[in-house]
Symmetry: C2
Subunit: 168 residues, 2 copies
């Protein structure tokens, strides 16, 4: 009896441990775009604070995008560039209330430059994952028309709202 | 005569080329702290928008600081952590006026954790460099009292105002 309990305990701990160790993979966006890996470690392009929907945003870039930023070659951005926009709800610092800072995570958004593959949407592949669980945005592949429509007013800036920050 | 002009031209081009190639080094802060290298490529800790002085800020960390962030070991931050705060004046996007974004570069600020070396100021060495030319802030080493005084209300958070952003 005692050895049975021990075996059950071992098996249970094994299952729990495995579940913790295996990260649940994030599903691709409905247009087939897979979430770019390692974006949390990408370098800074810019930040913003949108007062129309009370969100704080930080814009990061992969190596190709950052090289384009450093050489001021971002109109157009080179193929291979990926721009990540990370979005949080506004909150403020308890110890400095005039500082608006990122609170709850809202979503991650990506623009992936491939002028051939994504020729129909200005050379950019669009994708968004919602919330801390990173649920793909959009019911089907047509969601990109919403993204592209919103970005069309900035066609002259290669469909990108962001301007890289000035750095010393 | 012709060869003289050629020699003068070569020497002139050599001098101009050398001047361009040599970056003018940034002077250390009055307390002897040298500007940390490569901070433009550091990873994201957080961002903020201060409505009391109309500035946008991005907070980056060196590898030690980012490792502490990932493991949620930031109170206290480990020795070797460096936190960089990059500050810009507010501006807004022409094509999305409700988005406040970084404009003119104001200054870079650093907190360097060394609990022995900087024991008198909470274990942190402070430094700031002003403007795009990165002129050291402060007339003499006493400027750190201003920094430390302002950070004392957040003693319970290891003298750091910033809370690392939530990331998926």
């Amino acid at each position: 009896m005692k050895s049975k309990i021990t075996i059950i305990t071992i098996i249970t701990l094994f299952i729990i441990g495995t579940a913790f160790a295996l990260k649940i993979p994030v599903r691709p966006a409905p247009n087939g775009i897979a979430m770019p890996e390692g974006f949390k470690s990408w370098r800074l392009i810019a930040s913003s604070h949108r007062s129309d929907n009370n969100t704080m945003r930080v814009i990061l870039g992969n190596d190709t995008a950052i090289q384009a930023v450093r050489f001021k070659q971002t109109n157009p951005w080179p193929d291979g560039s990926i721009i990540a926009k990370l979005v949080w709800k506004n909150t403020s610092l308890e110890k400095w209330p005039a500082a608006t800072v990122p609170g709850e995570f809202v979503h991650s958004e990506f623009m992936i430059k491939d002028s051939m593959k994504y020729a129909e949407t200005g050379g950019w592949g669009f994708a968004r994952w919602k919330g801390i669980s990173q649920k793909p945005y959009g019911e089907d592949a047509s969601f990109v028309q919403e993204c592209f429509g919103c970005h069309t007013p900035v066609k002259d800036n290669d469909y990108v709202f962001t301007h890289p920050v000035e750095l010393p």
